[in-house]
């Protein structure tokens, strides 16, 4: 139960980060199963960057809107 709560905590900590990452992983798995193995690696790579960027950018937008 505690493990599930920890995992849920990870997901709700930042929904954007978790959902983009999850989509990237699913796409990578599908692409790789379609024998596009190198593209699969690229999707994971790109997914990491986009997920991080969107998550942190959301935080600085919140900060900017608060001070306007």
């Amino acid at each position: 139960m505690k493990v599930l709560r920890t995992l849920w905590g990870l997901l709700v900590d930042d929904g954007r980060l978790a959902s983009i990452l999850l989509v990237a992983l699913i796409v990578a798995a599908i692409v790789s199963s379609a024998h596009l193995h190198l593209l699969g690696a690229g999707v994971i790579w790109l997914g990491l960057i986009v997920a991080l960027w969107v998550s942190v950018a959301h935080q600085w937008r919140l900060k900017r809107n608060k001070t306007k």
């Binding site: 978790a18 990578a28 960027w53 001070t67």
Partner: protein, 256 residues
């Protein structure tokens, strides 16, 4: 003695052991070495028992892809969460962790709970257990492959033993310098490491083709560091301009 089997196993298992050592050192430096080392030791003992019971057929018995998927997902989720928090702290979007204050709080919490310090850290244990188990399993595959193909299992085992001693000595030497690194920097490094290893293993479990194999972990680390530095620089500019807005506003209010 077979030089080819010894050399190949020494290099092959050396790479795997260094990867495991990186995880143990990084997690140990942030969460405490006691639980981190216990996790690694538990993985080594379990692997030794498995090899003792099953022997060479272990290669076909263990489904490494499932292990990579489960351990990789666990590491990726924890790693990227830490990395995000470290970026936010560097950029000033989140308050820096006050180490002295949190140490005092932890001490008080343990006193209230009637515990005597050095508590067991499940996260550190699980992370180093997973990492060491996976890398150890790969090292066993290397030993078995080279040992069986060269008909010289003793040379392959000797190569792995030498690699073990070298990597353990490296770990002992690197432990002290690591303890002097600030907490947020250490968390940043651990976040990058766990994210890189986690995504690499998840990719392996999906059978993606990583360019230049395990060297891709280095490329992933480099990409994550670069993106993080860009994010910190950009976020710092936003924080600075927001602060300037607040200052302008307060000057206007006081001027009236």
């Amino acid at each position: 003695m077979n030089g080819f089997a010894l050399g190949s196993t020494l290099l092959g298992t050396g790479v795997e052991f260094i990867e495991a050592l990186t995880i143990v050192l990084a997690v140990g430096a942030v969460r405490g070495f006691k639980s981190a080392l216990l996790g690694a030791l538990a993985a080594v003992v379990l692997l030794a028992v498995l090899v003792g019971i099953i022997g060479a057929p272990l290669v076909s018995v263990m489904h490494i892809l499932w292990l990579q998927m489960i351990i990789g997902l666990f590491m990726l989720l924890f790693g990227i969460r830490w990395l995000r928090k470290a970026i936010l702290r560097y950029a000033g979007l989140k308050a820096l962790h006050n180490e002295a204050e949190s140490y005092q709080k932890e001490l008080e919490r343990q006193k209230a709970a009637g515990k005597s310090g050095g508590s067991f850290d499940r996260f550190a244990f699980a992370t180093t257990f997973g990492g060491t188990f996976l890398e150890g399993l790969e090292a066993i595959f290397i030993v078995l492959t080279f040992g069986l193909s060269s008909h010289s299992m003793s040379s392959a085992i000797l190569g792995a033993l030498i690699a073990t001693v070298v990597v353990v000595l490296l770990g002992v030497a690197a432990r002290r310098p690591l303890s002097t690194i600030p907490e947020n920097t250490m968390k940043f490094v651990v976040g990058v490491m766990l994210t890189a290893f986690g995504s690499f293993w998840l990719g392996e479990s999906f059978r993606v083709t990583w360019p230049q194999g395990e060297l891709s972990v280095v490329y992933l680390v480099a990409t994550l560091v670069l993106v993080s530095l860009l994010l910190v620089a950009r976020a710092k500019r936003v924080v600075a301009s927001s602060q300037a807005n607040i200052d302008d506003h307060s000057v206007e209010v006081h001027g009236r």
